[in-house]
Symmetry: D2
Subunit: 505 residues, 4 copies
């Protein structure tokens, strides 16, 4: 059986020997026991448990033609629109279980991206990367590994290409190629969940031209490889976790990102999928981005559900659940949440068959999904705070509640209707605070899978503006050419240098 | 062959002998030749031509198991999610061809609604309505008829039920039942395209209780039946059509709504589908509303395309197409348009199999679609006016352009870049004005298929708020019951009086 | 007495002998009797009546130090912040009286602008324009003239300066200078109310450089001067006025814009205020724009009041005035309306003393006002349509109501609660339609006094971004220079060519 | 000299002997030295320094007719519209100095409220409260005291009045009256800055009826009175301050709120301003709310400036400051910020003279101000995060930067353009995170001075909807009564029980 339980995953992560991880300036050996990172491990664990839990088992598994066996869906190559929809549905449910980002999507999307890109390369005659990838995929599926996807470079000066940067390592690059493998140096930033993974799939972060070929590099590598250093990032309210309480810091589930430093790291050749083939970078980025944008229609809708439920509960606690303005705000939150989800479902079920048995999301719907996600969560949070009351910013700590000199006062004065205790209320206030203002809902929603400006570039690329113009000309009684169109296929097998340059603008 | 050409339709409409239609207070005998209504006929005609035009032929036809023949899709009963998606795609394309509402969806949605409701009735033992409906459906498909759907009553005082109204005819009602048929009196308002149809399918407009049973009536009837009077409504810029020009009033395609008065009209029994069975009215309304809300994801996105194209053309005419703020506004318009479409596609492909070979749209996605449509068109129009310039409200008329004393001045002063003439510009300015401020985009988008408040009621009914609350309680470390749910199936075969009352709130 | 009554104004306008005005391609001799233009004349007339009506008399008059007499405020030079606030308050009230744009502000703002600019010129030693202006001002005040302000050029290709245009007359220009005066050719577009005025004040529309000096021209001229041709523009629903009814076309008050063609028009030298002094054009445009942007806080708030009142009345007519969602929408409309007004009041009372006894509005608040006006009216209209119901796009015409065969049906079926008749309802539906979708509220709100992009340029010019950056650096614990600022005074007496170029960007 | 320096204030606060304050469950004796509260003390201190700093000295002082001396403006009774505008300007500048809420406004607004209410009481013959208040005011001004305003009760079940609550202490109440004073029990919640004050001014939080008279209580009391317990609330990122670093937790300036428990506290009679006079509670609340809503136009605009500056700095650091989409976002932030400020200025300069030498803000503009503040900060934050990049949620901690094994990597990889170091960047990222997601900008903006629903109630109360309806009727050609109005004066000296009840709805 290749499907691991959550406990098996935790035990495996706990045993990584050489991994080099820093939290608040100090090295951490076992992330599964450290108060800062344990909640992240628990969220990751939920993706394993999902394949066993009664309510998610069906969604959480898929049949792999590579192994001819059932696997955890998080390492599955999508073989139908229904597979893509199952992803979105599963992510929504996992948000319900964690109230956090469970961090396993980037790795999953990376696998699906490499599957397509290495096929394209093979079709063009470059077959080794394909062979290496299929081997790697089987290895991942067979061992049900926890993967990070490491894409975003630190980027230095945003307006310069990798090869133009004064800091030569502003993008991860190949510094040496031997017959056994490659050496890479540089750093990847904002890497979701990385400290809780067994392997990283590393991808280039942008379309490149020939002068950038040293930076056109994709590979897979164990997280505890020598030369890799992970600096875990700060987040809203992170320091509360160090208090080791049970309410204020939401100790059960959370997520993290890390800065991953590659200091002359060796990658064996059988793990290298791209090393110099700059002409595939644009396609790779576009394919990855759309996969990842689609997924947000599930997980962020799921966080929306958590916040809606918490808001409704707090409204009930103070007796205003039926007030028309509260009802109206809850309805608005539902509408915003279901809109994100609708777009994610459209991106899945209206998918693109991009090669034999492999389906890509609909790129227009996927970009719509992410752009909605970049806008609506802040509105949902604002409504949640409105309903929840000023207490979200002023409630006493759990340590006050636990102080015998204060407990009775707090229990008396912070209770609303009698069915609930003040502790019930404090717990829910903290949930709203931590989820609605958290990195997963407020920041990842904006920047994850590409910033809003990136989706806007895609809108103008994917939309057939020339055709729209001709349609309007015809309706205005002018001469029109209704066959005019400048739109290429929604994805392209390779790209010219010209296109790479355009992408940079 | 049962698929008519557009010309066959026009010729048939032209020959209706007894139809009683009023426009601006005067009776009109042949709507196909009257300047006020001809553009509406042309839009309706486009739905027939779509089944023959090369670019829409495939979408425009469907195979009917009732006739075992190909028919025009506008009279088709949806048999799969793909059928539902084909509807949305077809509607988007027809908006491109007409720049207007083509008015044939309400009839189509009425057929699909009655198909489901009469099946439910048959399952409960009430089989005659089903038999009558199937006969009627075959007749419609075989003759490729142009149908109106007549649902909205005039409603009198909104807070009162039909039986409580001081004006007993505030809702259409059965005044007499004989063994041959029924007599009805009252009026239906806002009936789209009615003056250009051959038949009307009449449905109740709200959930009713037992005391309203005289008002629980559904039937089909030829538009030119004695006792029916149609008063065509006014619309923005309608009077321009009476000038019979070729630019300012968009004479080619438009749409209309009518007030339909039933003055003691006889309906033969084989055309009666509901007469007193109040307990099915709630289900009927809910099923119809969701079908119609889904469709707006297609037609309103198509109007969005027309406005985007026109805006881009005008920007090009004055040399600002590449200005960043113009690009950004066009991108925003694309995003808003594609969001409406995405939701419509989700409502289609994530459909509900509601009976053998009949599929209902996903009600949550369908309500999301319509609610987006109630918000975004006004934003799209605002952006279009912003790009197009003040000229949308100040440009000279075509009669000025045609005045030899003025023509040269206008051609000189209203030209922008040399590739376009001032006439090109005026034509496009008029298109933007008439489409972006028109009834189809500004008013139908808000009120068609139910006002925004109606969708909001559906959001709170369809969303499982109890489950969301339990999810949040669990995450907050409180006792939770994750199986708790109060949500019924998304549709119910019948409803109790209690539910009917709740719906009224 | 120098304050005219409305009737005196109408009588004077009616007698203009040589004026050349075209409406729908035909020349119109007496605008006061023509159904298309009479409502515009009535709106203009309201600005005269305001100086006599009990409720506006105090606001409608001001004391002129030039005449040492009371004058109509619409020709007054603002002498205090309270004067500026009185403008905003007066405009709000005049919107209540007309439901339209009353068209006299542009001329008023032009006078105040020239007052400042000619003072600046005089301070620099160029004194003739000042002397001419003061004489002209006295003449205008003494005769209580109805002025248009003519600023917007037709502009040809937007990205080119006047001197770069292929069409040399894309901006109004001086073609010849004699010792008696100047000859001008070209056209001004979107000129509000022009057909109902006695004089035009003509101003340049943009900042210019030395190469554009032929286009740097400002003067005053009677509307009926030889060589001037006015082509009145089309507007939403304009053709309804030609039906000469009393309901559907709002025959009482409306507004218009015109394209004004100058075909080698002679301007006597004592009416010339700028002819070649390109270096004052930037200042002139900036001063005018801010005055005009401030005013919109009054008139558009007043139209908001009209629409709020009409929406509340229609809600009452159908019995839903107390429904929470209707109350909430009305409240939102109030908030949006009062926000526009608040900004206008701030722009007035937080004014800038720019010279002896002359006050300019606060430019930042004035730009805020206009930018709000470019956004909120479309939202107000959308809410109004939501409350008013689909009837706004489908109600029968007044001609149907007047048809004896239909009247009884319409009266019966379109009545809501008994206190109102169906005619009451139709009248209000038409008011909502015509005001909320009209040019004054939907298009002028966006483009009048400069398009939204123009305000955005001003925001970045007026805001001290360098200082904000230093403030943030200090708070972040970095080295900061809190005296750093790059902001010039909010207005500048003259501008260098460099600045003119920057303005063009 | 009655104007204290900041240091004098800190020294005084440090010496409070009996004060009972809890932070994270532990009692804190000297708040000026505790890492959690010291930043709050520093913000409060800034209000004292403002009266001495060169750039704020003029705004920071005012002349008191009570002392016939200059005092710190924060204890001043507003004597003119210019005084009110000075408040808004001063608050904007103090936000620049602190990047936080400086917590002294509630006390200030409480003094101004009591000044008016006790005058009204005196006019009705109840003169003692007035005499006591004037004595207290002089004492406060003479000693330049730091005051809290304590208004919000814990409220129990929101839909019940104080006297109806199952928990009798859900609102603060008088439990005993003696000839020397009163005894009070209960709690006040969300009390801004309270742990850093010398005195509290306690006010009722809602309009009350006769049955609630025990709850109609207003008084002043030293913060260190026996029986008062202060439980300091949690806030986003509060635990970081306990790390005692210099970057991540913004150690210099912050703010806090506290739950204030009154356990049978004695208030001497000369400090009691209201004890049972329920009929003044509605007026008191309305007057206070408007004062406090006005102020937000200053302080929140000032926080907007901080965030705009930080965003611009970060954009410059990564080389994208000139990108059109970044420019556009900065411009939008400026517009939003200046809109809030404009409304605050209007509320000040368009003030209401409510008694001799005392001015109230314009209540409509003040409510507009606060309602804008309840909406725009979340939008500003979203734009800031968009510009700043994902790093806001993922950047390493200052402890990583200080770890010699990591420092070099971080300095290399997180640097953008060469003019800035990675530390510069981290510092600014933390400022954006802490200010834009902080309680002052995200939560206080929504709930401070009343939740959004409270402003909406005021909009419908202050707006003359009846008049608007009549205006629209007249324009629609129906009979209208333009003198109809139901609006009372914007404030009322007393209120009937009826009104109190209405307020509760």
């Amino acid at each position: 059986m290749v499907i691991r339980t959550g406990d098996q995953y935790v035990s495996s992560i706990s045993k990584r020997s050489k991994v080099e991880i820093y939290v608040l300036g100090k090295e951490v050996k076992d992330v599964t026991k450290h108060p800062f990172l344990k909640p992240s491990v628990m969220s990751f664990k939920a993706t394993f448990d999902a394949a066993w839990d009664e309510d998610t088992k069906e969604l959480g598994r898929a049949w792999s033609p590579y192994l001819e066996e059932e696997i955890n869906r998080f390492n599955h190559i999508h073989r139908s629109p229904e597979d893509l929809a199952a992803k979105v549905k599963l992510l929504r449910k996992l948000s319900h279980k964690t109230g956090a980002c469970f961090q396993r999507c980037v790795g999953w999307d990376s696998l699906n991206t490499l599957n397509i890109v290495t096929k394209i390369m093979a079709n063009k005659g470059r077959t080794e990367p394909r062979d290496r990838f299929v081997e790697y995929l089987k290895y991942v599926q067979k061992n049900d590994l926890a993967l990070a996807g490491a894409m975003t470079d630190v980027k230095g000066i945003r307006t310069l290409k990798p090869s133009q940067q004064p800091n030569k390592n502003a993008y991860l690059r190949v510094t040496e190629v031997t017959k056994d493998g490659i050496y890479v140096s540089g750093a990847k930033a904002n890497i979701t969940g990385v400290a809780a993974t067994e392997e990283m799939v590393v991808l280039p972060t942008r379309a490149m031209g020939p002068e950038d070929k040293d930076y056109a590099v994709a590979f897979a590598i164990p997280t505890d490889t020598e030369g890799i250093k992970i600096v875990v990032g700060r987040q809203i309210n992170d320091a509360r976790r160090m208090e080791e309480g049970e309410i204020d810091g939401l100790p059960y589930f959370y997520n993290h990102e890390g800065l991953v430093i590659f200091d002359n790291v060796f990658v064996p050749m059988n793990r290298v999928f791209l090393a110099g083939e700059w002409e595939y970078t644009g396609t790779l980025v576009e394919i990855f981005a759309a996969y990842h944008r689609q997924g947000y229609g599930g997980c962020k809708a799921g966080l929306g559900d958590v916040i809606i439920g918490a808001s409704a509960d707090l409204a009930r606690q103070i007796g205003v659940e039926k007030a028309p303005h509260v009802q109206d705000k809850l309805t608005e939150m539902i509408f915003l949440t279901e809109t994100m989800y609708s777009a994610g479902i459209a991106a899945s079920l209206n998918a693109v068959k991009i090669c034999d048995n492999c389906w890509w999301v609909n790129p227009m719907h996927a970009n719509v999904t992410k752009h909605l996600v970049a806008r609506f969560p802040a509105q949902i949070s604002q409504l949640a705070i409105d309903i929840a009351g000023g207490m979200v910013g002023t409630a006493p700590s759990e340590w006050d509640l636990k102080n015998p000199k204060l407990k009775e006062y707090i229990m008396r004065y912070l209770q609303g209707v009698e069915d609930f205790t003040a502790e019930d209320r404090l717990r829910m206030v903290r949930l709203i605070e931590n989820v609605s203002m958290g990195v997963a809902f407020q920041i990842e929603s904006i920047h994850g899978a590409g910033s809003p400006a990136a989706q806007r570039i895609m809108f103008s690329r994917l939309y057939d503006l020339d055709l729209a113009r001709e349609i309007s000309k015809k309706l205005a009684g002018r001469k029109a050419d209704l066959k005019m169109t400048t739109k290429p296929e929604p994805w392209r097998e390779t790209q010219s240098e010209q296109e790479a340059k355009e992408h940079d603008k």
